[in-house]
Amino acid sequence: MIKNIFRNFVSGSATRPYPIEVRPGFKDARGELANKIGECTLCGICARKCPSQCITVSRKDQYWEVDPFSCVYCGICVEACPQNCLLHYAEHRKPARKKSGLLLNKNESPKLTVVSENR
């Protein structure tokens, strides 16, 4: 243990000064979930397969919504998508002050929403 202590004194700190310095994510890590809404056909397979039921798809109103605070980042939707338009970034979603969902509409710009209670 003495050798360990000396080595720790001489080498740098073992922790990073987060959030000033952020570790880049690993290439295959499952970070934030995103959808290339231009290619999405709103088939709804991702919403059916999701274990935590965090995706809502509406063909009538042409939108795809995810609740990133209920998502468990398992990647099942990404594998199930027939168009391959869902993907995980390598970086994780940033912390936020309020929980909000991400709504991607095919005809409008993306916006943050209040997460609907009836899931």
Binding site: I5, A29, V72
Partner: protein, 358 residues
Amino acid sequence: MSKTIVPFGPQHPVLPEPIHLSLTVEDEIVKEAVPAFGYVHRGLEKLAEKRDFHQMIQVVERVCGICSMIHAMCYCQGLETLMNVDVPRRGQFLRVIWSELHRIHSHLLWLGLYADAFGFESVFMQFWKIRERIMDINEATAGNRVIVSVNQVGGVRRDLSPSKCEWILAELAHVEQEMKDLESTMLNNYTVKKRTVGKGVLTQEAAYELGAAGPTLRASGIAQDMRQLAYEAFDELDFAPVVETGGDAYARGVVRFRETFQSIDLVRQAIARMPQGDTFVKVKGKPEGEVVQRVEQPRGECLYYIKANKTKFLDRLRIRTPTFANIPPLAAMLPGMELADVPVLILSIDPCISCTER
């Protein structure tokens, strides 16, 4: 010589898990211990009626955060037996690699908490620093740090490229060297021995009869490990259970320390012998019948009973986790010990209350 009843837990600075013990003490010697839990019951077995059997993999992984991949592996093995699916050989080797990595990081976590229980906070930090390497391996290969969703019915969802395998071997060499540096601190130290040798002795007959599981059983001299059942790729790997005969808290520490080295060796063997091929097979249809499946988790023997009736929801999913089996031995080993030994003894069985209560 009056008796006092000391309520220990569920919130306590030295207790890592929300278990409650009513200790009847007489002058600092514990006379009787009655366990009680129920603080983190989530009813996950009942959720099998609301989520279909593919989505249940994600639910079952969350029974315990530390042995999560092994829970999912046992569940998938049970369903594969029911649906007559053979996992390809490469998929079996990959499952062995990830489950042994889970065992390494679970034992490192435990060693840190154990050192913290008798006040060695620096050693606690050192062990968790070593553990960060395994967490990075998890994130880079399987996708997430703690709850790696890498199992599916029929195989695994990710593959390991040769460059990743080499990187894993390099990291494990660092882990092994760093653990050897800390070996004399944990196993040959005068203070550690004074606090753990001779405490909480479970004789061989008592451990067998009370149904102890895992290192608690193997530290009392019984060589029983579910990996001897040769599931997955364990039939091709050289493996023998790690056994000690002391039966006290020190012997359990030695068993887990040596099991970490054994797991590093198993990962090396698995990477060397892994064949090329597919990692999964496509599975269609619904399961029917009932099956009992057992695996060896870091904490002991875990039993899954699955009953299915050809619909997409399972009829009954019953999980018997190792800490559930280790609580009666805990209640039997506490009488006669001093009050200050209680946290060390609770930690020596490696409690995981989220597993126990599901």
